[in-house]
């Protein structure tokens, strides 16, 4: 996305389209193998999973990793007011639990798994803002939050991503990350705003470092310039 904006618009040559298609196919092709490798099967399982029969038969990728309908279904089943967490966690996300002293508080995805299986798990499904807010506050607040998010996206887009704005590397990088944080918020974890803050912090560190390096170069060049001046 960042590259798209940095170039104004990429000219879609045949080579670029083929490259993009190849990337998508390879990604889908190796996904089952990666899961087998991470499941403790190691490199052997990764290589075996390259077999076309494994790839074509594997529909777990779609139903467990891509599909989100089950999260929304459970959200509807449990209904508004069924589960809520400390209010600050909606604004600041997971790590806030440490400062609030509510580390044992479960988030919505974990709550769903807990209720469905009857055993308190140490993991949870990804739910996203619509499900989290619906389960916590109800339908109207959820729609209000999404309305505000739509407006926020518009502001980000117009301030950071339109041509000109996208020419600035920092703006463009910030746009990619802020956009992704919004996406993550909606489609993965409704309490995940902290990743947005930490992303800004790390971008800030790199930009600050660049300013320091830039300043160092200016000082050097000024010294050289002054030496040159006096030598004449």
């Amino acid at each position: 996305m960042g590259v798209w904006y940095s170039g104004g618009r990429i000219k879609w040559s045949r080579r670029a389209i083929l490259l993009a298609l190849l990337l998508v196919i390879v990604t889908i092709w190796i996904a089952p193998g990666i899961r087998a490798y991470r499941g403790g099967g190691g490199i052997d399982a990764l290589i075996k999973a390259f077999s076309p029969s494994v790839v074509l038969q594997d529909n777990i990728l779609f139903w467990l990793e891509i599909n989100m309908l089950h999260s929304y279904t459970y959200g509807v089943i449990f209904g508004p007011g069924s589960h809520t967490v400390s209010s600050l966690r909606y604004l600041f996300g997971g790590y806030t639990a440490y400062f609030l002293g509510v580390l044992d508080e479960v988030v919505h995805g974990t709550y769903i798994v807990w209720q469905v299986t009857g055993v308190q798990p140490d993991w949870g499904i990804h739910t996203g803002l619509p499900v989290d807010y619906y389960m916590s506050f109800g339908l109207a607040p959820m729609m209000g939050a999404m309305l505000l998010l739509g407006w926020g996206l518009k502001v980000l887009y117009q301030q950071l991503a339109l041509p000109g704005g996208a020419r600035s590397v920092a703006r463009q990088a910030a746009y990619v990350f802020l956009f992704w944080s919004c996406y993550w918020l909606v489609y993965e974890r409704g309490l995940g705003l902290l990743s947005l803050y930490e992303s800004i912090a790390f971008l800030g560190i790199i930009l600050l470092a660049s300013k320091l390096l830039h300043g160092h170069k200016i000082k050097v060049s000024q010294r050289i310039a002054s030496q040159t001046y006096f030598s004449h």
Binding site: G2, G7, M68, H70, V116, Y157, V186, E188
Partner: protein, 253 residues
């Protein structure tokens, strides 16, 4: 019809979609197949209107809508035509009609997002294309050398934390063994408290590779060379768990 008329029509359709889904959500009997078809029609229409206005295929709304269609609408469609999902948590969540309301909940969220985009005014100022072009022309020179150097420093710092994590947990030979065995997922085999190094490594590597990609593309216009830093980070993240860790930094999770 001109662009504004199309936009007004899209807003009207969006309101209609919102109302129909609201009625269906509060148990007004509306055929689910009608909702399924109407939702996809309205959302695709809105995306086309927005793409015509901006010419931007990565328009934020289009990405959200596309994701909705793949992650919610498509599963609902498959269930409607009789495809049985992979069992999850030992329950048939697709039995009954709660999944239909699940789709409607998602549609309401998306219609709200689209209305937020199309109806609320930009703030703090409307950044027009002309203003953006003016800024581009009059922008002062930016020293990309310093930024590139800072990004490389960030990349090296991230790499250092990555290697440090493996060194303090497994040593050199142990790390190779762990990498080959694929047992790192979930962090069970690592020492408690060391995941902070992967946090630092991940953020430094992702941020720096993103900046390096943008700078490289601006100077070389080579997609392959530009994407080498994020590709290398993706490979580095292959052993770790989490749904999207592998696709870092594409996913920026």
């Amino acid at each position: 019809m001109n662009t504004k008329t199309w936009a007004a029509f899209a807003i009207w359709l969006c309101f209609l979609g919102l109302l129909i889904n609201l009625f269906a959500f509060v148990n007004v009997a509306i055929p689910f197949l009608f909702i399924l078809i109407f939702v996809i029609f309205v959302l695709i229409f809105i995306v086309i209107v927005l793409l015509r206005r901006t010419g931007d295929y990565f328009h934020p709304v289009s990405i959200f809508v596309f994701s909705f269609l793949i992650r919610l609408w498509l599963p609902a469609f498959l269930i409607t035509v009789g495809v049985e999902p992979f069992p999850f948590l030992g329950t048939g969540w697709w039995v009954g009609d709660a999944w239909q309301k699940g789709l409607i909940l998602g549609a309401l969220a998306n219609f709200s997002l689209v209305l937020g985009w199309m109806l609320l005014p930009a703030w703090p100022r409307h950044r027009t294309l002309a203003a953006a072009q003016h800024e581009k022309v009059h922008r002062g020179g930016v020293n990309l050398t310093a930024l590139r150097m800072a990004a490389w420093l960030g990349f090296i710092t991230g790499l250092f934390f990555y290697l440090f994590f493996f060194a303090i947990n497994f040593g050199f030979l142990g790390s190779v063994e762990v990498l080959l065995s694929g047992v790192l997922r979930g962090g069970e085999v690592q020492q408690p408290g060391t995941s902070r190094y992967t946090f630092l490594a991940g953020n430094f590597l992702i941020w720096s590779s993103l900046i390096l990609t943008i700078i490289m593309y601006q100077s070389t216009r080579s997609l392959f060379r530009s994407f080498l830093p994020p590709l290398s980070v993706t490979l580095l993240y292959m052993p770790f768990g989490g749904v999207l860790s592998l696709w870092r930094p594409y996913s920026w999770d």
